[in-house]
């Protein structure tokens, strides 16, 4: 499974939706994922890809990991996986 599909699967599970209901434009807010749900999703993503995501729930916008939409989350994870490989 590619990164995007896996991330969508994790986020859909968190939001209690079907993966096809989650699009790249979806935001955590639009999916009904609150701050605790976001922390849980990030944990699940870290476990799935064996990466560490810099994320502080106090100020999500402060880290360079952009969680504003599914697309930016996928892009951030793809970058972290590449960095890990090098």
């Amino acid at each position: 499974m590619d990164v995007q599909s896996k991330v969508i699967e994790i986020i859909a599970e968190q939001a209690m939706l079907e993966p096809e209901d989650v699009t790249l434009e979806s935001t955590p807010d639009s999916l009904g994922i609150d701050s605790l749900g976001l922390v849980e999703s990030i944990f699940a993503i870290e476990e799935a890809f064996d990466i560490s995501i810099p994320f502080n729930a106090n100020d999500p916008s402060a880290s360079d990991f952009d969680i504003s939409s599914v697309a930016t989350i996928v892009a951030g994870i793809t970058r972290l996986i590449e960095e890990k490989a090098t």
């Binding site: 701050s35 922390v39 502080n56 729930a57 100020d59």
Partner: protein
């Protein structure tokens, strides 16, 4: 109703090994937060905390005692010895039967648990020390205090996460006020600074990796601490009859539940607890000069707490002082309200308001007088101590002079 006063105080915390050294540190705005020092700290992403320094348990307790005393119990006994000694009370006869211990703790013997899980899971051992259970149980500290001082009345432990100490002291207050007890040893304790304790908190992603900066726009999370604060609460008439020195009167107490979210705080729940404590003590809000804030340094708590204070106090919110001493001693979780009550006693008795250190930049959502960075001399009449726990459980105490 019986009036309730404080006649003894004791503590060991990251700022000092007794009340006087803690007051001195708060007055200087000294920071007790630094690099954590314990096994496997290199496997943590959060590596700072407020640990108690220059403490050697073996110089205080003997081998048999240490086999039974987890760190949270050690801190409690050290604090209780100071508090009882200062009170001058000797518990025997009917007084012993009408006196007890109510302590707050969240994790209890977490270090004991951590060490023994490590032994059986990581090291594969199949035998543990026979005292693991009596050492780790949450009520161990309360029980050892009852044994050491012959307190034979109602004793128990309260666990409401970060509000444990305030809930405990509120119970002690209510038990004396209602006539059930004459004196109570009360407060709280925590020793969560071990690998498992910090690892669990790390998972929540609310911990700062550099400093605790409550109310500052630059705040980025909480920092954990450890230690205990223990007080002797006593019926006013009993204390006066024996000529005891009275440190403060406990004027009011209130507790509320947000009934909303397991981690996110609620302005309404906090405001109801603050207003409730004032109502319980029959205190006009203009009399409140200082609030020791819950002030964790997280984004969510600090703005919610300031909004709650503004709601309750109206225009007076701009005249009172509110500081978070967690910036100095860290967040002692179940023990935090007890150590923070020391800042309230210092405000009442020494006319010194402990500062919020680490304050860098105003946050419009925390636009109150947070006593930034430097202690301030001020005469205050009534002080409050806020505690708002995960789980939405809030407890606020009001103190004043007799």
């Amino acid at each position: 109703m019986t009036r309730v006063v404080i006649t003894g105080v004791g503590t060991i915390n990251p700022l000092g090994h007794d009340a006087q050294s803690t007051y001195a540190a708060m007055r200087e705005g000294r920071c007790g937060i630094g690099p954590l020092d314990f096994r496997d700290v290199d496997r943590l992403s959060v590596r700072i905390g407020a640990q108690i320094r220059d403490y050697d348990a073996e110089t205080v307790f003997n081998r048999q005692q240490l086999a039974l005393y987890d760190r949270f119990t050690q801190f409690t006994l050290i604090s209780a010895r100071q508090a009882v000694a200062q009170s001058g009370l000797c518990f025997s006869g009917p007084l012993a039967d009408r006196s007890g211990v109510v302590l707050g703790t969240s994790g209890g013997g977490l270090t004991t648990q951590d060490e023994n899980y490590r032994a059986v899971y990581e090291e594969g051992k199949n035998r543990v020390h026979p005292f693991v259970v009596p050492k780790l149980m949450n009520n161990a500290a309360a029980s050892h205090v009852s044994m050491e001082f012959n307190l034979r009345g109602p004793s128990f432990t309260v666990a409401t996460a970060c509000a444990s100490s305030n809930h405990a002291m509120g119970q002690a207050f209510s038990m004396i006020r209602s006539g059930l007890c004459t004196a109570m040893v009360t407060g709280g304790t925590e020793a969560m600074l071990c690998f498992g304790g910090v690892k669990a908190w790390e998972g929540l992603r609310v911990m700062s990796k550099d400093a605790c900066r409550p109310f500052s726009a630059t705040r980025n999370g909480m920092v954990q601490g450890e230690g205990a604060g223990v007080f002797v609460f006593e019926a006013l008439d009993h204390a006066q009859a024996r000529g005891a020195e009275i440190l403060a009167e406990v004027l009011g107490f209130a507790m509320t539940s947000d009934a909303a979210d397991i981690v996110m705080p609620s302005k309404q729940g906090a405001a109801r607890a603050i207003a409730g404590a004032l109502a319980d003590g029959g205190i006009a809000r203009e009399r409140v000069g200082y609030i020791n804030a819950h002030g964790t340094g997280t984004a969510a708590n600090d703005k919610t707490e300031c909004a709650a204070v503004a709601d309750v106090f109206g225009t007076h919110a701009d005249k009172l002082m509110i500081s978070s001493t967690k910036s100095m001693h860290g967040h002692l979780i179940g023990g935090t309200g007890a150590v923070e009550l020391l800042a309230c006693l210092m405000a009442l008795n020494e006319g010194v308001i402990a500062p919020t250190i680490g304050y860098e930049e105003p946050d419009p959502e925390c636009a109150l007088d947070v006593v930034p960075n430097e202690a301030r001399e001020a005469e205050v009449d009534v002080v409050l101590s806020n505690a708002f726990a995960f789980g939405g459980l809030n407890a606020v105490l009001a103190l004043g002079r007799v």
